[in-house]
Symmetry: C2
Subunit: 269 residues, 2 copies
């Protein structure tokens, strides 16, 4: 007798992970995390879970009771609200006030942290570009920018300058970073490339069809290392200008790859 067809990537033994967001269709985590689990030889899958904002606080605690759920990734708009479900909150998450990963530990407690910033640091580490001693300019103090500022701040740069179109938001982030990394020269201020070694864009300027630069310049100094957190397009207007000017460029996909690697480490403890 012929046996009914079966797929080989999910079974009763597969460990389940999820990404929780609203909306959910655009997320890239399911295909990327699942590939990373497989690369490590683990029988695990990450699936999209669309939870509505009005139901998040009641759905989440019950979702966590599914026994073979190994962890959750959080995306917009839940990174701050998800903190409420952490039994143990990591250093980055505490400093940023948001998380993007919740992992079930062997003792049943939920460990939480945010990895956007660590992903950026990991991308630079893989390129052998240290932040230590460097003067860093960060554009954008939103969710991704906050995590990047906190993580980069821990790397002991010579100085960290933060710009945001919302000046108060930049100042507030500067205070967070100063608290997390006492003694660090951190300030909010206008975008600049003068006296800067590493330029980080964490603002949405340049995303998708947006042809603008996040900083109003015609050229960039060749010595500058330029990073853009944007993933689509891969080569943003800022990175294209940086390449044209002979700068070293670090791509958003490198941060995403670094982040997924760190998060899978976190999930598989």
């Amino acid at each position: 007798m012929e046996f009914p067809d079966e797929v080989d990537y999910v079974s009763g033994k597969t460990r389940i992970f999820g990404i929780v967001g609203h909306p959910i269709e655009q997320v890239r985590s399911p295909e990327m995390f699942t590939a990373e689990f497989r690369r490590r030889g683990r029988d695990a899958i990450l699936v999209p879970l669309h939870v509505l904002p009005d139901e998040f606080d009641t759905v989440l605690p019950q979702l966590l009771r599914v026994q073979n759920l190994g962890g959750l990734v959080f995306t917009i708009p839940y990174k701050a609200r998800a903190c409420a479900f952490a039994d143990v909150l990591g250093e980055q998450g505490r400093a940023v006030g948001a998380i993007n990963a919740l992992a079930r530990s062997p003792d049943g407690r939920w460990h939480a942290d945010i990895f956007d910033g660590l992903g950026c640091v990991e991308a630079f580490r893989r390129r052998d570009i240290p932040f230590a001693g460097k003067r860093v300019m960060l554009l954008g103090a939103g969710g991704a920018g906050s995590a990047i500022a906190v993580a980069v701040g821990r790397e002991r740069p010579a100085a960290l300058r933060i710009f945001d179109v919302d000046a108060e938001r930049a100042t507030a982030l500067g205070l967070k970073v100063a608290r997390a990394s006492p003694g660090l020269d951190v300030q909010a201020g206008a975008p600049a490339t003068e006296g800067v070694d590493i330029l980080l864009n964490a603002s949405p300027v340049g995303m998708l069809g947006d042809a603008r630069l996040p900083i109003d310049v015609a050229t960039l100094p060749r010595r500058l290392v330029v990073f853009d957190a944007i993933v689509k397009p891969e080569r943003t207007p800022l990175l294209a200008l940086a390449e044209a000017c002979g700068c070293t460029t670090v791509f958003g996909l490198e941060m995403m790859r670094g982040q997924i690697s760190r998060m899978v480490d976190f999930f598989l403890v």
Copy 2:
């Protein structure tokens, strides 16, 4: 830049289905349903969801609020308890008092039914063996047996006789079937092959390492059609004897395949 590896079988757009049970590792639905979804060209996956008995009633309603969840399959020990979550309960489910599928309909209501029995009927239909006018003997009045009795009863057999080691259970099932199919000649009684055209085993006797027969006979009449609901082993002691005696045999896997096909129809309305 090389893009991080991705798998091609799950993304943010994938519709999620689950099987809820306790324990969960032994279930076969994830690989089989997912294969059936793919065969039909649908971007959907069915994952195992291990929910504890003490938490079932609080977890379930919140799980149903995950917006991209298309449906759930229920297995041991939840087929009866799951009825509580049906907005619309199908005819089979009503007659049996248990469900194994809950499907989100386009209007947001949850439709429920049980398909074990329909899967058995479907398997016979695919073999062109009608139940109509036949004298049927059913062994086993548990969960699977109940669903099979109700579904077969609707096919207008000449008579349906039900045996269970628990005589009260057999009698109770006889009453359920009589209610669902008024006028049908249905009774509880001892196992027999005399005056029987179709012998159905829905008892666990013969499962896995169990070498016993569910009916105490040395041979089977050649004219008999013999079905066994057991999937492992594929060729049960009863089916092996039936083959040796020249009977027509119908396998548990055929029922499972028929059931999955009917359930995927139900899920994809």
